[in-house]
Amino acid sequence: MKHEREVAGMRCGEVLARLSDYLDGSLAGEERVQVEAHVAACDHCARFGGVFAATVAGLRRRLSRPAALPAEHRARLARRLEGETR
């Protein structure tokens, strides 16, 4: 991996592998501290971590918009179910 280096006892590739766990708050105490120390001293990981977090936040915002079933689809589903016998 380009730009791979070790900072605060953790390599960039190891930070990359832990970004989701970090974001989801599921990283154990010591690893969390290591990731934070690495990111504080590594420009590449700080920038990429920010882009990754912004992507996930943007996805959650977009997906949380209501997405109702279109009326014509509902009508066709109702007709299909009416024709069904058990």
């Binding site: 990359l16 590449h44 990754f52 996805l59 997906l63 069904e84």
Partner: protein, 189 residues
């Protein structure tokens, strides 16, 4: 008082179409989002939706736990897989985490969170990026980020261990980051 999924399906199993209609109305939006995430196109998504509710109507007496949503999502996965096999869909080679990271822009000074935040407000950009993902990547993103399933619930539905489920979610998020980068900067893997 609102009936539970189990109560509605018990009535449905006795032929009560009104109860089944209530069950459909309760879950149709979730199923539609999920079907669209799994399907190749909108026509296939509608097929998945219809086949799922038809299968649910026929098997209405078979709900084991009082969780109609999880039951329907599992049926939808089977229906979608059947349609994908019929279409002859093939699995792509899985990229290493390092490859995905490079593709997603690790080490690329052009990509900044501020710039991405602005671009993400553009109508349709995220949808385009999502459409470029593999179905199993869209599926995990919809289950976890939209439907709010816990890691354990998603793992059970997908037939994965918890660690495999976490790995799939992480790879899907990286793949989405990579597709957004391709769309905004024209980068190639």
């Amino acid at each position: 008082m609102t009936s539970s999924d189990r109560e509605l399906l018990e009535k449905s199993a006795r032929g009560d179409r009104g109860a089944f209609g209530e069950f459909v109305a309760r879950h149709e939006a979730t199923l539609w989002r999920f079907a669209r995430a799994l399907a190749h196109d909108e026509a296939e998504a509608e097929d998945v939706l219809q086949q799922t509710f038809v299968a649910a109507w026929r098997a209405a007496g078979e709900l084991e736990r009082d969780d109609g949503r999880a039951w329907l999502l599992a049926i939808a996965r089977r229906e979608s897989a059947r349609l994908a096999r019929r279409r002859g869909a093939r699995h792509e080679r899985e990229r290493s985490l390092e490859e995905l990271g490079e593709h997603a822009g690790f080490g690329d000074a052009r990509a900044t969170p501020e710039e991405l935040g602005v671009r993400l407000e553009e109508e349709g950009l995220l949808e385009q990026a999502l459409a470029r993902l593999a179905p199993h990547e869209r599926e995990i993103l919809v289950l976890r980020e939209l439907e709010g399933l816990s890691g354990a619930a998603a793992a059970e539905l997908l037939g994965l261990s918890l660690s495999a489920e976490k790995a799939r979610l992480h790879r899907a998020r990286l793949a989405l980051t990579a597709e957004l980068r391709t769309l905004t900067h024209g980068a190639t893997p």
